[in-house]
Amino acid sequence: MSIKRRTFLQGTMAGSVIGVAASAGLLSPRTVLAAWPQAAFDSENVAGAMKGLFSSETAADGDITIKAPDIAENGAVVPITVTSGIKGIETMALIVEKNPRPLAASFDMSPTTEGYVSTRVKMGKTSKLIAVVKAGGKLYSASKEVKVTIGGCGG
């Protein structure tokens, strides 16, 4: 009993140390948000992002539409809307192929959530936007090329 209590105390101590380190920005806050896919977001190429997020690099063509400007004058704010008629979407991911870290966002959806997401992303330079949808354990993707005249990655 007392040993268990000791282990428990040590556990909480270690936990709080990690918490402090994380809030100081020393550790990546993987410990704070268990769901945040660190490896996928850290990846510097599309294949790594796909693998980190979906454990697979390949996706079939599917009923996915990407709405984004053909030419974005300001890469810091590129509006993008993804719609999909695929049933039972579990996850929708947005990837900007030529960004330093391609994975921009991942959306986990409930059964009542429709296949529709709209947001604004940063694009460092002209690149393909890739939308990946996971539904029923299968992967589908679509892409669209967006030309960027001024980059949005702080350069």
Partner: protein, 105 residues
């Protein structure tokens, strides 16, 4: 904590409800160089946004620094009706967080 960082508009049209949200946040990439000091500005960005309908999670967004400053998010779901609660909360990489609840109109 900075309150009112989130603005939500939720509108039901038939079976479908469209939620639009605007969040005030720097979304600093960690790549930008401060012109005065010549040093890189540390990354500061929202990592996770959770959207709930009457207490049930309907969308969890995991974001990177590639989401634009003052993020905009819009999504749709079925089963919502006027008067229902839509709650949106975010947490960033410095563990700052905020949440806001709005009624569907």
């Amino acid at each position: 904590m900075a309150s009112k960082s989130i603005r939500i508009r939720a509108k039901a049209e038939g079976a479908s409800t469209e939620v639009k949200a605007l969040i005030s946040h720097e979304m600093e990439t960690g790549l930008r160089v401060d012109k005065k000091t010549g040093e890189k500005v540390p990354a500061h960005f929202i990592k996770e946004v959770v959207c709930e309908h009457n207490g049930k999670t309907i969308l969890t967004a995991e974001w990177s620094v590639a989401i634009s400053k003052n993020p905009y998010l819009s999504f749709k779901f079925t089963g919502g009706k006027a008067g229902d609660d839509v709650k949106i909360s975010w947490v960033d990489n410095k563990d700052d967080r905020d949440s806001e609840t709005a009624k569907i109109s």
